[in-house]
Symmetry: D2
Subunit: 383 residues, 4 copies
């Protein structure tokens, strides 16, 4: 009976591993351990932990890691604190495998805390290419990880090229596709997002189309976070269509982004934007499923939307290099350019599904592999 | 005027960057900043900071990072504390480049503290292959680093294969060769190690030959640290030749290794071993230069000894995979096997010099590159 | 030339030591060192550090200490982090005396960081009596402090009764009285708070009277923070007079209080409340000087308002036991009781000044004492 | 069923609470939780945790807190780390009362971690008077504690004078007297300390008398730790009688003290001293019971030895002010003065028992009180 400890540090990473959590819990040879950390604990990022518990999972450890005063110094310190605190959790829980997702501060903190305690580390979503510090962190985590569950063919090839043994690299597809599939499976579900999630701003009739916006700060463009967000807000106001705006993650510069949104809201009182802090992964997908276009720099636009066939306007460098389908158009940090791209994309209608990020079933595939794959903490470059 | 911040965390890493420190300090376009951290501050690891200051360098920050109670949990916690504390130092000193060496806990703590503060990171000794957790850490640091100063041709190729742009990879050779060259340059120097460094144990006449032993714990073989060290001690006693034994670094398992040495010493009172805690890099090289053979698992046996032509018996997996000359013979953790290997190696006499780790001048080459290379914190996999 | 290091951790403590900072800086035998920490660094608590620098002070160290996710666990952890980080600052700055104010988490973190580094500790505002955890912390800091600058006669007597030598206890009065005096000295000053500090909410004509409200969470009543704040908000809305509301400090429960304010604001859109995050100490005093009554649980209502003769409604237990003049009426956490008390107090008009917290000049008196008092870190109970 | 969490941070504090642990475990209305932290976890301080487990207690949490590089900065940092880490333990264990002992770094870390989490704090051994930083810490902990179990009448009076309500102050006597009583109860017990505890140094015939020495560094005399220990070692060698020397606790300056001992041992190879790292509390008492005199600055000489009637030479200021019987003679840090005092004391023979620190039964009395006393976290100065 292997104990599999999954570390959840933010709303999107929860969404991505949800089907995996279910599959681990259901597996006869696996015991699920959940550690919730970082922004997933914080009410001002939508209290993901509440969602996790509401959805029936038991949280084994809550690990606070984030220092207030979001800037580059505190980002580094939060990573150090996270490493130290996660080490305590792993030492208490004694898992056979630690699972970490993607490329955030807490991902590398998790990876080091596990590696230095000789616990085999499984990494989901390695081998992808994007901009900014995430790029460095993602590949550093690959070099610390013992098992790689990758989402795309290109990603698998890159991980192997980086010197990982091909027997440890598994092309499972991305478990986020499971979320999409499950969320849309029950067509009888009735969602009234304004009632269920309140948020701030005017209430729209969504039946005649709407836009979704999510924009995170880019850590290597820290000082520009505020002007970037203002350009997007300006473009959305100018384009005029009803827009559902989702609050960003905590990240160096989050204050810039958050402050920009708050200040814009107070000065311009935009009549076509409704702001949400959080939503269950399923409801988010259902909302995304009916939108005309997603705008911003969330990986959702690249990843889930490829599979769903939702047009996306991708702003700036945050997702540069990421494998993508044909549903994406890029834009600069410039309101005119954003308006033009949104205009094109909203006119395309629903596109065909693209399987660049795999098909349904990744969660189950990963759980099965976690139950059977040989566990080792010794590895070496293949060249 | 670029500010170059070199982080020194242990006796061997000081030795390796000493010629670089001199070259940076002498360079018109560079300003040297020195951060001393981890075991380099501790008296029970030979107080490297005292040596640094005695040799005329000014230390800008002392950063304590190591938690007592050396085990896997505290190793992880020390890394987290180091990350957080080094972040403060970098935030205060505002360097243009941070330089980190090799593959220790503190190396990755340094790498993350710099990366998350958007400070370009230069890594020395990337691309080499060895066993244990160091292997993971070294390549993870490569993925975080922006500039790579590598010691061997193979290492350069490996770093590039891992997806680093070849323009950022510089085959400078290893600055430790400079230490060797400088130490041996002045043949008139008179060294009486027993007088200058006392240590513990009998005093030998070294003119008729002697052995040097250094053995570090291997972090992935934590529980075996004590039995490993006992085998080596037993072999040395059995072989009987005068031996100078150098105390290990702090590492997970150091307590096992240290305890093993202490206990062996108390129970067996070995008459052919003299124990030293520390020595200046130059005096160590001078002592090494006249020995018949080096025994243990220090990289010195592979690296400096290749250039010096000193035979080495390499025990266990710690150096497995490292590029090497023909001066090395491997042995298992087994006293018989060690005795046999030492027997062979001590009979070979001085060998020819091998340039697998480069030639003299690496320190100056790296300093020149630090003054001129384009600095950037943006990078991306090359494939 | 004694180096005096003053640690500022929040907006109110800055206000209270401002005249002291000026007096230290002006003193021939003193050198001023300023460490800014905790909420004084955070934009969501009004970025006190910006005010400090705008007012011409040089900040020697910024020390981040607060973990996000304000609850009892993170409060304790923030104190531990603060202690560790302030220790670094003191070790770098090497002050002859550290000065700490009042009774917050960071006060005891400062006190321990100084005590364990054998730096004499001066404490301002010891010996007062209030409710909650502050009470414990304040007296614990007294037992760690070597020099006591107290505000009231009763406080001086209590500190001596606790076993401190009377030669180390100085009745200087409270330096916050200096702020009041200086702020009101220049009657020609024109203040338009809505223009200078924006804030959120309707803009009033303040010439026909207004109320000021400030309410902090009480740490031992953590779970009730939200209902407490709602009662006060309800009372203010019911009373109907224009009200200037000042945002609370960070404290365990701040999320409850802040969330309560935000949620009330969104649901009830109160038309008689304008919310401010921060204000310069002087402008705050000028605004306070013209109000009809202050409502809430800030010590300002007890301390500064005694001297100013401003009526105060004090809600709940946070200030219970504090020395007070006759300007204060107490109320329960109950909107009816609050309305009744506000009604009484707003009808009293301006009261006579009361010197329970001393007279103008405390800052200069403390600076003179810091220059001349004998410094020692050895002490012992007097009985 | 109240959960009582006892925090054990060093060998002597374990010894002192052992009878309390037994009484709590045996009590029908109490559940025992044990947290082991700080030097009690470290092998180089005798691995108290191993003793605790061997004696049949279950350890609920091991909390590493000590930073290596023992100096004033790391002392402060260790306290901060301890506070943060103990907070996690208390948050996990959710005790109804936390029990802390005496006046060490970890005592105040424990006190703050409990206080800020609104957990009632019981303090054992408050109200005593000694020198150095311990004095400040002890009384600061009294001001944070909700329940006081004091050892002497004077201590009870002092705690009440400091402003604690007399209903919360219980004169229970010191539980260390229980250890003495139990250890000596079984007169048939055969102890061969050299066989059971090895240690380092010559083996003596103890039947013709011997001395016991224990000397801790004094934190406010940090730089003198080494010369102090050397004077004592010199005196012991000069006096010449067989001496059992017990290794000091970790404390700022421990390196000075430890280094002093090691270096003295290596240079002088004293023939009349045998060094021990640790011993079970009972065996220590049995050994103490038969000695002629105890020398150094351990509180054992004042406390247990008053009850046992063992003459003590107390060196320096560490115990200055502590309540005492007539078994103690003071000495300066000076070998001549120490020799003279030892000479006098060894000639007195066994003295009458003195009950200044109470009589047998303190452990049971404290456990009963913990089961029945009213628990509150609200308190206020009584004056």
């Amino acid at each position: 009976m292997r104990k599999i400890c999954v570390v959840i540090t933010a709303r999107p990473s929860y969404s991505r591993v949800r089907s995996l959590l279910i599959a681990i819990r259901a597996h006869h040879d696996l015991e699920l351990q959940i550690v919730v950390a970082a922004s997933a604990l914080l009410s001002r990022y939508g209290s993901t932990i509440a969602t996790i518990e509401e959805e029936g999972f038991q949280v084994d450890r809550s690990v606070y890691t984030i220092m207030e005063g979001v800037n580059l110094l505190t980002s580094a310190k939060s990573t150090g604190i996270g490493l130290s605190e996660l080490a305590t959790a792993f030492n208490d829980l004694k898992p056979d495998v630690v699972v970490t997702v993607a490329d955030r501060y807490e991902t590398i903190a998790t990876a080091i805390a596990a590696s230095y305690q000789n616990i085999p580390l499984a990494h989901i979503q390695g081998g992808e290419v994007t901009g900014s510090i995430d790029e460095k962190v993602r590949h550093a985590v690959t070099k610390l990880a013992d098992i790689h569950f990758v989402a795309t063919k290109n990603a698998a090839e890159r991980v192997i090229k980086m010197g990982e043994r091909s027997e440890t690299v598994f092309l499972t597809g991305c478990p986020s596709i499971d979320v999409v599939h499950n969320a849309l499976a029950d067509s009888s579900y009735e969602l009234d997002i304004f009632k269920q999630y309140s948020g701030v701003g005017p209430i729209f009739d969504l039946t005649s189309g709407y836009i979704i916006a999510i924009q995170h700060p880019v850590t290597t463009q820290y000082v520009d976070a505020r002007s970037h967000i203002e350009q997007t807000l300006k473009a959305i106001v100018e384009f005029g269509r009803p827009t559902l705006w989702f609050w960003p993650n905590v990240d160096a510069g989050a204050d810039g982004t958050s402050a920009g949104i708050r200040s814009f809201r107070e000065m311009h009182a935009p009549t076509n934007i409704h702001f949400f802090k959080s939503m269950s992964p399923e409801d988010f997908i259902r909302t995304l499923d009916k939108c005309d276009c997603i705008v911003g720099n969330s990986s959702v636009g690249i990843r889930e939307c490829a599979y769903m066939g939702v047009p996306a306007v991708n702003i700036g460098i945050r997702q540069a290099g990421r494998d993508r389908g044909n549903n994406v158009v890029d834009s600069d940090y410039d309101s005119d350019s954003i308006v033009a791209a949104v205009s094109v994309q909203t006119s395309r209608g629903r596109l065909n599904s693209n399987d660049v990020y795999g098909d349904v079933g990744a969660g189950a595939r990963i759980a099965n592999l976690l139950a059977t794959v040989e566990l080792s903490i010794e590895k070496r470059l293949t060249y």
